[in-house]
C-alpha cells in the first residue's frame, strides 16, 4: 500500500515507521491481531445507565451526586466525622465549655494558629482579674508607673486609696465617653500592660535570683499565654 492510499488524517496515526520494525514486524502484527479488538466491550451497569440516560448538566444534581459519592466512600465518612468533631470541639472551645484539660489543649492549639480561645486558666485568671487586678497593680505599681501612660498614674493613685480603683476609672471613662463597658476594658488594658511590663522586671530579677517570686503568680493569674509566647 502506498502513501497515496492513506487518508491524510490517518497518516498522523501510523504507529511505527517500517524502518523501526525491522526484525519485529511480525511480532507487531501479531500484537495488533491479538489486542486490536474490533468491537467495544460490554459496558458495566454504571456506564450502561450513563450511556442510556446521558450526562446530567444540572449542576445541583451533579454536586449532590458527587457529595453522595464522597460521603459513600470510607475516606469520605472519616472526613465527615473529623469535620463534625472539629466543628463540635471548636464550637465548645470558643464557648469555653470543654473540660479543663481539653479546653487548655484546644486553647493552646488555637494560639498556634493565631486564635485566642479561652482556656481553663483564663477562666481562673478572669476571676483573679476581677478580684485581683488591684493586687497585681499593688504589687507592680512601682514598676508600671515608669512608662508614660495616662491611665496608670490614676491607678497608682487608686492603689494608694486601696480598693477604690473601679469607681474612679468608671467615672473617668464615663466622663470621656458614655460607654459603660469600657470600664472593664480599661482594667484589662492595664492588665495587658502589666503582663508586658514585668518582663524587664523579671530579667532584672533573673540577674539576681533564679526564681520569680512576684511575677510567677501574676503570670498564672493573668493568663497562661504570655509565658508561652515569650518562650516561643
Amino acid at each position: 500500500m502506498s502513501d497515496f492510499d492513506v487518508h491524510p488524517d490517518e497518516m498522523r496515526f501510523r504507529p511505527l515507521p517500517d524502518d523501526d520494525l525491522e526484525g519485529v514486524s511480525a511480532f507487531v502484527e501479531e500484537l495488533r491481531d491479538v489486542y486490536g479488538a474490533a468491537t467495544a466491550p460490554a459496558p458495566n451497569q454504571a456506564l450502561a445507565s450513563l450511556l442510556a440516560s446521558g450526562l446530567t448538566t444540572d449542576h445541583g444534581e451533579r454536586r449532590r451526586r458527587m457529595r453522595m459519592d464522597l460521603v459513600g466512600t470510607r475516606r469520605g465518612k472519616i472526613g465527615v466525622a473529623l469535620a463534625a468533631a472539629f466543628a463540635a470541639f471548636s464550637g465548645f472551645g470558643v464557648a469555653g465549655a470543654l473540660p479543663g484539660t481539653v479546653q487548655n489543649t484546644v486553647s493552646d492549639a488555637g494560639t498556634h494558629i493565631g486564635l485566642h480561645l479561652p482556656s481553663d486558666n483564663d477562666d481562673q485568671g478572669q476571676d483573679f482579674k476581677s478580684q485581683g487586678t488591684d493586687v497585681e497593680s499593688e504589687i507592680e505599681a512601682p514598676e508600671t508607673t515608669e512608662p508614660p501612660e495616662a491611665t496608670e498614674p490614676t491607678e497608682v493613685e487608686n492603689d494608694d486609696q486601696n480598693e477604690t480603683p473601679e469607681p474612679t476609672d468608671v467615672e473617668v471613662d464615663n466622663d470621656a465617653q458614655d460607654e459603660a463597658p469600657e470600664a472593664p476594658e480599661a482594667t484589662e488594658v492595664g492588665n495587658d500592660d502589666h503582663d508586658e511590663a514585668p518582663e524587664p522586671a523579671d530579667v532584672e530579677d533573673d540577674d539576681h535570683t533564679t526564681t520569680q517570686p512576684t511575677s510567677t503568680p501574676s503570670n498564672d493569674e493573668s493568663s497562661g499565654e504570655s509565658p508561652e509566647s515569650s518562650n516561643d
Partner: protein
C-alpha cells in the same frame, strides 16, 4: 457502529460529537465509547489488567465525568483518554499490590476451560507468545510499545499520555524494539 468508529477515529465529526457529549447527549457518549473503547480495552488487556472490560467502563465513566471541561482536538482527546486509561491501570496495580485479588475457584476453572474451540485455542496461544515477549520488556518500554502499536498513538500522543517528553518516548521505543529483536533472534519464537 459507524465506519469512523470501526477505524477508531472520529474524523471530521469530532467537533460536533464533543459538543454534544459535553451537553450530555447519550448518542454522543455512545459514539465516543464505541470509537475508543476497543483500543482502550485492547491496551488494558495487553497490559494484563484485572477485568479489563470493567476497567474500560471505569475509564469511560471518568472520561465522561470530565468531558465537559475538555478543550482540544481529536488528537489531544485521544491522548487524554489513554492517559486516563493508563492512570487507572496504574491505580489498579497499586491497589492489587496492596490487596491481592482473590479469585473463586469456580471462576478460575471457568477461565481455564474457556478455550473450547480451535480458534480460541489459537488466539490463546498467540496471546501467550506475545505476552512472553512483552514480559521481557521493562514496564516503561512496554507501556510505550503498547500505546504505539495497540492504541495507535503517535510519539507525541504517547508523550502526553505518559507525561514524558517525546524524546524520552522515542528512546524507550527504540530500546524496546532492540530488545525484542534480540529476543526473537536469540530465542526464535514461531510467530
Amino acid at each position: 457502529m459507524t465506519p469512523a468508529a470501526e477505524r477508531g477515529r472520529f474524523g471530521p465529526t469530532f467537533g460536533s460529537v464533543l459538543v454534544a457529549a459535553q451537553a450530555g447527549a447519550p448518542w454522543a457518549l455512545t459514539v465516543i465509547f464505541e470509537t475508543l473503547a476497543p483500543a482502550v480495552a485492547g491496551y488494558l488487556r495487553a497490559q494484563r489488567a484485572d477485568d479489563p472490560d470493567d476497567l474500560t467502563s471505569d475509564v469511560f465513566l471518568r472520561v465522561f465525568g470530565h468531558v465537559a471541561r475538555f478543550e482540544g482536538s481529536e488528537t489531544s482527546f485521544r491522548s487524554w483518554v489513554f492517559s486516563i486509561a493508563h492512570n487507572r491501570l496504574v491505580d489498579q496495580r497499586r491497589r492489587l499490590a496492596r490487596r491481592p485479588a482473590v479469585v473463586p475457584i469456580e471462576e478460575a476453572t471457568a477461565t481455564m476451560s474457556g478455550g473450547d474451540t480451535e480458534e480460541e485455542a489459537l488466539i490463546g496461544l498467540a496471546e501467550q507468545r506475545v505476552q512472553e515477549l512483552l514480559a521481557t520488556l521493562p514496564g516503561d518500554q512496554r507501556d510505550v510499545l503498547l500505546l504505539r502499536v495497540v492504541a495507535d498513538l503517535t510519539v507525541d500522543q504517547v508523550a502526553v499520555a505518559l507525561a514524558k517528553s517525546p524524546g524520552a518516548v522515542k528512546a524507550l521505543q527504540r530500546r524496546a524494539i532492540a530488545r525484542l529483536r534480540r529476543q526473537l533472534t536469540d530465542r526464535p519464537v514461531p510467530l
